[in-house]
């Protein structure tokens, strides 16, 4: 058998996993990997900061449902991707991050650009490997992809000392791997699904809460079947936004801190919830004790550790959400159950939805977020992929941008990472080049990773950045207005920089849109062009995100716009 280097075996192993693209930035400790990347068929996308590489891999992974790959060197290169790894972990996104490490003999000697990235990332990875011989690499890669993409997906780190990349050995590539302590899926318990079905059927005021797990397992059709057979209204978590078409008559939209008023209202009035692939985060449910009061909870999740973590469950169904829902659909069909929605609850839901949609006060500014995002929905094709940054614009997107096509909306919902949306959009574009990709952004977040404009332009991965620009760290400003008696500190970004010029400086297209009409035209221009476009929209810095469930309170205490 011919001897090959660890780095070469890494490239072969990645190609065997079907990797066609990787995002990264080279450095001293991963040069052998890059030298092999030079010779391989894998496309390398050079980033301007490793954090963006990890977000691109994350965006690629969420959209393609295959682990996105990113490369970073040792030390600061590795620590720069920590935020990206934590973001992927919080949102269960498949990712394989590959870092260079100082040579094995130097580990522990505080070498130049040495960081204990295995130790640093321990609580935020699904698993981490540090192969100490080139012969281990193929097995490690195979295990990494298997772990990252199965069960509840997540990020896996492979940290490879430089000498392990360089050393040559006779290397065997396994066709399969076994991990005895890892059981990503269990078959759902049929009797539990039967009990869940009975509970749902006997409820007077049932509701479905769809979480991110529905999107990850692609259980859209099954979810819709159950909702339509039983005429049950569907609310989602923010991560689950887009798991159910938001223009569907049964859709009430996301619940939570900035949930739709009708969703929060109906959630609090329900007597039984079918929660699918949701982890009952505090941002979704408010106070845990109040949420579960007088509520029967059916919890379907692939991760057994989510059962009972935040809420007390009446019926737990552990297993893939798509499989569990499919079994439930079959049971309903066998029982020939088809409801018409004429119940008192059905009427109450319909009336509540109509009431809030007609009577909630809209911010009076001509460029109120609701007007901007409704215009965006009008002009953006339904199959387009939308990402967001983190802050007010993100919550406005949750409130005012309806997701029609399931699984086309992605956001950093768990960790809440500002700067995620733009690089993630570039990763999404790499996964689906034929679909328009747009990042609903705020300038505070965009500032954090705007240098990815170079990547979007030079790598021909054009995405649109819709910048809701109030030159303020708006969400913090809103909290300072609301909870700190308007003592504004650390939030004013003072009209700097000019984002049209920033875009142009990178060779992208910059458009300033100052009316709703101009916004529509700008998006259409961007959709027609082949270059990254930043649409700078000066919005009102005084606009708050409403409704608002203040932290530490329950959904019942929702504050409405007045």
């Amino acid at each position: 058998m011919e001897k090959i280097s660890g780095a070469r075996s890494l490239m072969i192993a990645l190609e065997k996993e079907g990797v066609e693209i990787a995002f990264g930035l080279p450095g001293g400790a991963n040069l052998p990997i890059y030298d092999e990347l030079y010779k391989s068929n894998i496309r390398h996308v050079l980033v301007r900061h490793e954090q963006s590489a990890s977000h691109m891999a994350d965006g690629f992974g969420r959209v393609s449902r295959r682990p996105g790959v990113c490369f970073a060197t040792s030390g600061p290169g590795a620590t720069n991707i920590v935020t990206g790894i934590a973001t992927a972990q919080a949102d269960s996104a498949p990712m394989v991050a590959i870092t260079g490490q100082v040579p094995s003999k130097m580990i522990g000697r505080d070498a130049f650009q040495e960081s204990d990235i295995i130790g640093i990332t321990n609580p935020i990875v699904k698993y981490a490997f540090q192969p100490m011989s080139p012969t281990e690499i193929p097995e490690v890669v195979k295990k990494a992809f298997y772990i990252a993409s199965t069960g509840r997906p997540g990020p896996v780190l492979i940290d490879i000392p430089k000498d392990v990349q360089q050393n040559e050995a006779e290397i065997h590539f396994p066709s399969e791997v076994k991990i005895r302590g890892y059981h990503p899926w269990v078959d759902p318990d049929i009797t539990a699904i039967e009990r869940a079905t009975e509970m749902l059927l006997s409820a007077e005021r049932p509701i479905i809460l769809a979480g991110g797990g529905v999107i990850i397992s692609s259980a859209f059709a099954e979810l819709q079947s159950i909702a339509e057979l039983l005429m049950i209204p569907v609310v989602t978590t923010f991560k689950g936004k887009g798991s159910f078409p938001e223009n569907h008559p049964l859709s009430l939209g996301p619940i939570g801190m900035h949930g739709h008023a009708e969703a929060n209202k109906m959630m609090t009035e329900a007597d039984c919830v079918l929660a699918c692939g949701s982890r009952f985060s505090d941002r979704s449910v408010g106070t845990f004790e109040e949420f579960e009061r007088n509520l029967k909870i059916i919890h379907m999740d692939v991760d057994p550790a989510e059962i009972g973590k935040n809420q007390t469950t009446n019926v737990a169904v552990v297993g893939d959400v798509k499989t569990s829902l499919r079994i439930m659909v079959k049971m309903l069909i066998q029982k020939a159950i088809k409801r018409n929605g004429e119940s008192a609850w059905g009427k109450r839901v319909k009336e509540t939805k109509e009431y809030y949609r007609e009577n909630l006060k809209i911010h009076p500014h001509p460029l109120a977020a609701s007007k901007v995002l409704k215009k965006l929905r009008e002009v953006l094709p339904a199959q387009s992929i939308v990402t967001t940054e983190v802050g007010q614009h993100q919550m406005w997107a949750s409130l005012f941008f309806d997701v029609i096509h399931p699984g086309t909306f992605f956001s950093s919902t768990g960790l809440g990472t500002m700067g995620w949306g733009f690089p993630a959009a570039i990763g999404a574009k790499a996964a689906k080049p034929d679909v328009p990709v747009l990042d609903i952004a705020g300038e505070g977040s965009f500032n954090m990773t705007e240098n990815s404009l170079a990547v979007s332009v030079l790598e021909d991965l054009p995405v649109i950045v819709l910048l809701l620009n109030n030159f303020t760290l708006g969400m913090v400003a809103q909290w300072q207005r609301t909870f700190y008696d308007r003592r504004m500190i650390g939030v004013d970004l003072k009209n700097c920089p000019d984002y049209v010029k920033v875009a142009e400086a990178y060779g992208a297209q910059g458009i300033r849109a100052q009316t709703i009409d101009e916004i529509g035209k700008a998006v259409q221009t961007a959709l027609k062009s082949n270059v990254a476009t930043v649409i700078d929209i000066p919005i009102d810095p005084q606009e708050d995100v409403l409704p608002f469930v203040a932290p530490g309170t329950s959904l019942k205490d929702m504050i409405l716009p007045s």
Partner: protein
């Protein structure tokens, strides 16, 4: 509620760190932890004792189970398991009669006595925490100069298929 959790894990570097870091990051409590190899050299057993209510204990078990390097997680019932801890106490010897008294106490508790000197003596006990605490109370008066405890080591009684 004091509980004993018995965890079989892959016997490889970093696993102890993952387990203890899980307890730290999720704000669980470790009362004691003991680790050793099992009959299978690829597998180690960790015995962890913790103070947790029922809900938290269930979460601890699930989160431990979720770790890829854990192979089996069991909560041991006190009545259905054998659990012991080894403790060494170095006691102060102030007057010659102390040695006789301490040795008598040690015999009563089935302790081994080591390193008898003019000014100190080491006693070693392997027992349940209750018995160890009782002994500690009795010898406190002499002055405990140093103490080392291994943490609980435990096995379930009988075997899996036996009721």
């Amino acid at each position: 509620m004091w509980s004993i959790i018995s965890v079989l894990v892959e016997n490889k570097p970093g696993v102890l760190f993952k387990i203890t870091n899980l307890f730290r990051s999720r704000n669980y409590n470790i009362d004691s932890i003991s680790v050793g190899i099992t009959e299978n050299p690829e597998v180690s057993r960790m015995t962890i004792t913790t103070e947790a209510d029922e809900k938290q204990l269930s979460q601890i078990v699930k989160q431990l189970d979720k770790l890829i390097d854990t192979l089996e997680v069991k909560v041991l019932e006190e009545k259905k398991s054998i659990y012991r801890e080894l403790v060494m106490m170095k006691l102060k010897v102030s007057k010659p009669t102390d040695i006789k008294e301490i040795t008598d106490l040690a015999n009563a508790f089935k302790c081994d006595v080591h390193d008898v000197r003019k000014s100190s003596i080491i006693i070693e006990i392997t027992a349940t925490p209750d018995r160890i605490n009782a002994l500690e109370d009795l010898v406190k008066g002499y002055g405990i100069l140093e103490m080392a405890r291994t943490g609980i080591c435990a096995l379930a009684r009988g075997h899996a298929n036996e009721d």
